[in-house]
Amino acid sequence: MSLLEVKDLQVRVEEREILHGLSLTVNPGQVHAIMGPNGSGKSTLSHVIAGKPGYEVTGGQILFRGEDLLEMEPNERAAKGVFLAFQYPVEIPGVTTWNFLHAALNAQRKARGEDEISSPAFLKKVREVAKSLNIPQDMLKRGVNVGFSGGEKKRNEILQMALFEPAVCILDEMDSGLDIDALRIAADGVNALRSPERAMVVITHYQRLLNYIVPDVVHVMSKGRVVKSGGKELALELEESGYAQFEDAA
């Protein structure tokens, strides 16, 4: 069974249709890249998979391990193993990263019927993960993303990804606002999490990121549809010739 299956998805925002019948099948262990120009519906897709309010699904299905994802609350999806790394992670003043991670992890575990993780075990686990991602302890004591640089915010997303061990990770424009060094650190973090059980969907405008996170499958989106799919060489082709050729295809 495929891990994530998007079938003929149609999505509206207010009166405008953004996705007009998008399909996508992601199997365990795979890394999919979704590329496309601005406004092609890439972020909409990631938001709808995660269940962000404000989108109206007018047709199609999203199945996660065969279950209907659209029927689930966003937090249920998270507990099932759907993780969205946000393009713009929000700041939550006054809530330390420690507390936030602990609360979220336990909420997910509880929803899955697992035991809550104790404070000492949690501390140990976070410290290990943070160390591997080069995240200083000090950052964990600060409010979630408050005063973090762009690179720090993205690393915090990857830290959470590592901690929650999701089945599918959707990385929404992970490279936006990162310089080349920060990008490399973030990509290394992501690569370390690649495994035969886990799938990744990397959404990006530029091919650059895919030099670091090498995809198995590349999809090109335009005007709310996948217009072409192929191997990693498709990304290089796009780099050469741009998106214009696909605008008409859509």
Partner: protein
């Protein structure tokens, strides 16, 4: 974050309407006849075996009260209170002098156990689990004075306090045992003529706590009073007087609860604080009187006058309050910065939900030279509630070098509530430096979604974000109270998001 988890469990256990402290204790009580007259005042004074001067003081206040009218300037709306339809005194029976905690009516002890307030000294020694990444707190002792309806039922740790020279006892006892101290300070911060509710309190107050910390003494433990209204149709009028003599320090905590009742009950307390040279008082309140049900029926009318007088040089008074209860809150813990270099602080969290109405804030009155004050107010309005911050900062002509910083933030949850900010900033000399900022906003949908994407439920997410919003103030509370307050905040917002 264990606190959040516990909160969530607790929230799940209770219905929307359910107020955790809403049970009633069935015990016999000894009441004054209903209504207010000179006889009522005499009755209370006699019950307390008060000296003649005290009765005179009360009667003068009563006569003054008769000439006064109820204030209407606050943004609160309630039906007219019939002052003749209230019992002004109710004491649990049998009333006799207690020599040890074991003599307290077991029903009352049970009440306090249900409230989570340990009256048995041994129980207080338990520590609280610190949050991850937080510091391990040393186990601390807290001396408790518990006031049940109109009388104080237990004061713990008397011996240890006595050894340090600290006087901590019901004010009714202090009037008899330390008349010189009481006479010297009572009514000097909040005069009997101060305002309608304070004057009423002066006439009929029945009990409350009295604290005196002698010069140079740092009170060896936190002092605490828990107030509980139990009787029907009963007003509670407690009076607290705390004096920190030169170079002393005391931290005082106050908690309040009441049973769920259909009728509204009146609570009109007066708290007076005095700090002499180099002394400091830290006064923390977690107010959780019954707020009324989801239709706005019942609940406590909380009309409270709290004021501190920084009488000495370099003295300091700090108020911290977490206000989640009461149908109506009318409360402005204030500082009179009389001594040169004295400082005042006001940290407040006021949460309103359902039909609650809150009009609360502070007054920082700068009289001495180089005085400073700081106000951090966090208002959270949900449901159909109205939440007003009202604050005065004033520097008088001679208060050269006065400084104030004020930050008032309001958070709105839902579109049926109101959040209001009414600051009065008055400078009467050019060297005063005042800075005031206020913002009003709602919980960001993006922040909520982010939390939910990480696995938290809507309610957990709101609780988390609100606790973050009020963190600056929570940090001012002693650890045990902070944990309690954090839970209370989440419970208070239960049902606020749909």
């Amino acid at each position: 974050m264990p606190a959040v988890q516990e909160t969530v469990e607790r929230v799940r256990r209770i219905d929307v309407d359910q107020y955790r402290y809403g049970f009633e204790t069935l015990i016999e009580s000894d009441k004054a006849p209903k209504g207010l007259s000179e006889d009522t005042v005499r009755f209370i004074s006699a019950k307390k075996n008060e000296p003649a001067w005290m009765l005179e003081w009360r009667l003068e206040a009563y006569r003054r009260w008769l000439t006064m009218t109820e204030p209407t300037w606050a943004r609160v709306d309630y039906p007219k209170i019939d002052y003749q339809d209230i019992y002004y005194y109710a004491a649990p029976k049998p009333k006799k002098t207690l020599s040890s905690i074991d003599e307290i009516d077991p029903e009352i002890l049970k009440t306090y156990e249900k409230l989570g307030i340990p009256l048995r000294e041994v129980a207080i020694l338990e520590g609280v689990e610190p949050p991850p990444g937080g510091e391990q707190t040393p186990n601390r002792k807290i001396a408790v004075d518990a006031v049940f309806d109109s009388v104080s039922v237990a004061t713990t740790f008397q011996k240890e306090l006595k050894a340090a020279g600290v006087i901590f006892m019901p004010i009714s006892e202090a009037i008899r045992e330390h008349p010189d101290l009481v006479q010297k300070y009572l009514g000097t911060v909040v005069p009997t003529s101060d305002n309608y509710f304070a004057t009423l309190n002066s006439a009929v107050f029945s009990d409350g706590s009295f604290v005196y910390v002698p010069p140079g003494v740092r009170c060896p433990m936190e002092l605490s009073t828990y107030f509980r209204i139990n009787e029907r149709n009963t007003g509670q009028f407690e009076r607290t007087l705390i004096i920190a003599d030169k170079g002393s320090y005391v931290s005082y905590l106050e908690g309040c609860t009441a049973p769920q009742r259909d009728e509204n009950q009146l609570h009109a307390a007066v708290v007076e604080l005095v700090t002499l040279d180099d002394a400091e008082i830290k006064y923390s309140t977690v107010q959780n009187w019954y707020p009324g049900n989801s239709e706005g029926k019942g609940g406590i009318y909380n009309f409270v006058t709290k004021r501190g007088d920084c009488r000495g040089r370099n003295s300091k008074i700090s108020w911290t309050q977490v206000e989640t209860g009461s149908a109506i809150t009318w409360k402005y813990p204030s500082c009179i910065l009389r001594g040169d270099n004295s400082s005042g602080e006001f940290y407040s969290i006021a949460i309103s939900n359902g039909f609650q109405q809150v009009d609360s804030g502070t007054k920082m009155i700068h009289l001495g030279k180089n005085t400073s004050s700081r106000i951090i107010s966090k208002g959270i309005a949900a449901g159909k509630s109205q939440n007003t911050y009202r604050g005065l900062v004033s520097a008088h002509r001679k208060a050269t070098g006065a400084r104030n910083y004020t930050a008032c933030d309001s958070l709105l949850i839902g579109d049926k509530c109101g959040a209001h900010t009414v600051p009065y900033v008055e400078a009467k000399n050019s060297s005063a430096t005042f800075e005031h900022e206020a913002t009003t906003s709602k919980i960001s949908e993006d922040v909520l979604f982010y939390c939910i994407q990480r696995g938290l439920s809507q309610e957990e997410a709101v609780g988390l974000v609100v606790n973050g919003f009020v963190k600056d103030v929570l940090q001012q509370l002693p650890m045990e109270f902070a944990v309690e307050a954090q839970k209370l905040i989440s419970i208070s917002l239960e049902g606020s998001v749909g």
